[in-house]
C-alpha cells in the first residue's frame, strides 16, 4: 500500500523530525555524476565527470562560469543547476552594476542557500534537486562552498558530490592537508586523481571529464580538452587498475538511510546504477 505518509509534500514533518521531500532532493544529488572541488590559498579547481545518458547522445555541461571570479560545478538535476547558475550570474552582474566591484563569493552562496531554503517551506514549490560546488575568489582569498538542496551550505578545503563521490572524498581526505600551499598544477593533478577514484576502474580520458580553474590573476575558465588530455598523460592518471583496496561500496553516506527508513526503498542503492535517470 503506502510506505510513508509524511513524504507527499515538502512542508510536512515526519514524527522523527525529518522532511522527506528535502531528503529525496538530496538523494538526487547523489545520483548525478560526480563533481569535485578543491582549493589552495590562491586557486580553486573544479572537476566533473561527464557521462552521456546514451551512446547516441552527448553529455550535459556540468561546470558553469558565473563571473570572472566565481564558477560552479553541479551534480543532480542539471536543469535545476542551470537555473541556479543563471540566478548567480544575474546577481553578479547586478552587483557589479551597482558597485563596480565583484560580488564576494560567500555572500552569493548565502543568497543561493536562502533561495534553496524557501523551496523547503512552501507547499507549492519543490526543492532544487541539485548540489553546487561553488568556487570563488574575493578579498579574503580563494573559497570553495557546497550548496545543498536543503538550504544548507558549507565551506570546504576540498569536496566531492555525486555518484561514487565517497571514493573521491576518501582520496581528498587523505591529501587535503597539503592543499592550502599547493601549486595550481598540483591542485589540478589532485583533482584528476580524485576524479579517477569515482570512475571505479574505468579509464580516465579528457572525453569524460571537465576541469575548470580559477585563481589570483586567472579568471575562471574551463580547460579545453587537449589541455586536459595533456595533463592526464603528464600525470599518468590513466586509471584502469583495480580500485583501491577496501573501497567501500560508496553507498553508506552520512544521510543515514541504512536503517529501515521509510525513505526511497524502491530505488536500489544509488551507487550501483551506473547513471541516474534523474541526470538525463
Amino acid at each position: 500500500m503506502f510506505r510513508n505518509q509524511y513524504d507527499t509534500d515538502v512542508t510536512t514533518w515526519s514524527p522523527a523530525g525529518r522532511l522527506f521531500q528535502v531528503e529525496y532532493a538530496m538523494e538526487a544529488v547523489k545520483q548525478g555524476s560526480a563533481a569535485i572541488g578543491l582549493r589552495s590559498k590562491t586557486h580553486v579547481v573544479l572537476a566533473s565527470v561527464n557521462k552521456a545518458s546514451s551512446e547516441l547522445s552527448s553529455y550535459q555541461k556540468k561546470i558553469f562560469k558565473v563571473d570572472d571570479h566565481i564558477g560552479v560545478a553541479i551534480a543532480g538535476l542539471t536543469a535545476d543547476g542551470r537555473v541556479l547558475s543563471r540566478y548567480m550570474r544575474n546577481e553578479c552582474i547586478n552587483y557589479s552594476y551597482t558597485y563596480e566591484s565583484p560580488l564576494p563569493v560567500g555572500r552569493l552562496v548565502v543568497q543561493l542557500a536562502d533561495k534553496a531554503q524557501v523551496c523547503t517551506q512552501r507547499s507549492w514549490k519543490r526543492p532544487y534537486g541539485v548540489g553546487l560546488l561553488v568556487g570563488g575568489l574575493d578579498e579574503s582569498g580563494a573559497h570553495l562552498y557546497y550548496n545543498c538542496p536543503s538550504g544548507n551550505y558549507f565551506e570546504y578545503q576540498a569536496f566531492a558530490i555525486g555518484s561514487r563521490s565517497q571514493a573521491a572524498k576518501t582520496y581528498l581526505e587523505r591529501k587535503f592537508e597539503g592543499f592550502m600551499d599547493s601549486s595550481r598544477e598540483n591542485l589540478i593533478k589532485d583533482a584528476l586523481f580524485a576524479l579517477r577514484e569515482t570512475l571505479q576502474g574505468e579509464k580516465l580520458t579528457s572525453a569524460i571529464c571537465t576541469i575548470a580553474v580559477l585563481g589570483v590573476g586567472e579568471a575562471f575558465h574551463i580547460l579545453d580538452q587537449e589541455t586536459v588530455q595533456g595533463l592526464i598523460n603528464e600525470f599518468e592518471v590513466v586509471g584502469e587498475e583495480p580500485p583501491a583496496p577496501a573501497d567501500e561500496p560508496a553507498a553508506p553516506d552520512q544521510a543515514g538511510d541504512a536503517e529501515p527508513s521509510p525513505a526511497p526503498a524502491d530505488q536500489g542503492p544509488p551507487a550501483d546504477q551506473g547513471i541516474a535517470p534523474m541526470d538525463i
Binding site: 551597482t98 558597485y99 563596480e100 566591484s101 564576494p104 560567500g106 555572500r107 548565502v110 579574503s140
Partner: protein, 247 residues
C-alpha cells in the same frame, strides 16, 4: 552654452509644470555651499563650512556637512540639506547591512561612490532629483580615492575636487598648488586658503568650517573653527571708488 536649446529639456519642463500637486524637488530650500576635497600624502582631506542658507538668508549655522561612511569613506555634501540627510540614511543602512554579513568583506570608497552615482542617476531618471553635489573620499588597502557626483549623476574622480563655487574659486588654486606629497599640515593650509577665498567671495559661505581627514588608520572629523580674515582692504571698505561704470 546652449545645451538647453539642443536637448529635449523644454518638453520635460512642461511635463513638470503640469504637475501642480507634485512631490518632486523643483528647487532646494535649505542649502549648503561648496565642499572642497584633496588627496594628500596619507589619505584624503575634505573641507566645508557649516552654513545652511534659506535662499539668501543664512538660516542655520551649525550644519554638519562632512560625515563618515563606514570605516573607509567620508562624504561631503553641498546643496539641499534635507536631501543630504536622506542620503545619509541610505548610506548608514548600506553600511549596516554590509557589516551584518560579518564576513571580512567591506564596501570601500569606490563601491560607495558608485552606489551613490546610481542613486543620484536613478532619482534624476524619475525626475525627482536629490538636490546635492557630493564629494566622496576614502582610503582602502592603501588606495586613495576621491570622487564626486552631482544631482543628475555626473561623476568623476580626481586628485582634487570641489562643488559649486569651489569649482570656480578653489580649483584654480588647487591646480596651481596641489601636489601628491602634501603633508597633513600643508593640506590643511591649502584647504584653508581655498575656504578663505570662498568666504570672501561666496556670499553663502560662513566663517565656521570643519575639516575631515581619512587615512588608513581611520576617520576624523575635526571640531569647527574660524579662519582669520582681513576686511580692511580699501577695495572692501569702499568698493565703488575708482570703479568706472559700476554702480
Amino acid at each position: 552654452m546652449n545645451v538647453a536649446d539642443s536637448s529635449p529639456a523644454p518638453a520635460m519642463n512642461n511635463l513638470l509644470a503640469s504637475n501642480a500637486d507634485s512631490q518632486r524637488t523643483l528647487y532646494p530650500y535649505v542649502t549648503g555651499t561648496s565642499v572642497v576635497g584633496i588627496k594628500y600624502k596619507d589619505g584624503i582631506l575634505l573641507a566645508a563650512d557649516m552654513g545652511g542658507s534659506y535662499g539668501s538668508t543664512l538660516r542655520y549655522k551649525t550644519v554638519e556637512r562632512l560625515k563618515s561612511v563606514g570605516k573607509h569613506s567620508i562624504i561631503g555634501a553641498s546643496g539641499e540639506i534635507s536631501d543630504f540627510q536622506e542620503i545619509m540614511r541610505y548610506l548608514d543602512e548600506l553600511i549596516l547591512y554590509d557589516n551584518m554579513w560579518d564576513d571580512g568583506n567591506s564596501l570601500g570608497p569606490k563601491e560607495v561612490h558608485n552606489y551613490l552615482t546610481r542613486v543620484m542617476y536613478n532619482r534624476r531618471n524619475k525626475f525627482n532629483p536629490l538636490w546635492n553635489s557630493l564629494v566622496l573620499g576614502g582610503v582602502k588597502n592603501g588606495q586613495k580615492y576621491l570622487g564626486t557626483v552631482n544631482m543628475i549623476g555626473v561623476h568623476y574622480e580626481d586628485d582634487h575636487v570641489a562643488t559649486g563655487f569651489g569649482n570656480h574659486l578653489a580649483r584654480p588654486i588647487l591646480r596651481d598648488e596641489w601636489h601628491e606629497n602634501l603633508t597633513f599640515e600643508e593640506g590643511v593650509k591649502l584647504l584653508e586658503k581655498c575656504m578663505r577665498v570662498l568666504l570672501y567671495r561666496d556670499r553663502s559661505a560662513v566663517n565656521k568650517l570643519q575639516i575631515a581627514r581619512i587615512t588608513q588608520d581611520g576617520v576624523k572629523v575635526f571640531p569647527p573653527y574660524s579662519l582669520k580674515t582681513f576686511w580692511n582692504f580699501n577695495a572692501f571698505q569702499n568698493p565703488t571708488v575708482g570703479a568706472e561704470g559700476s554702480w
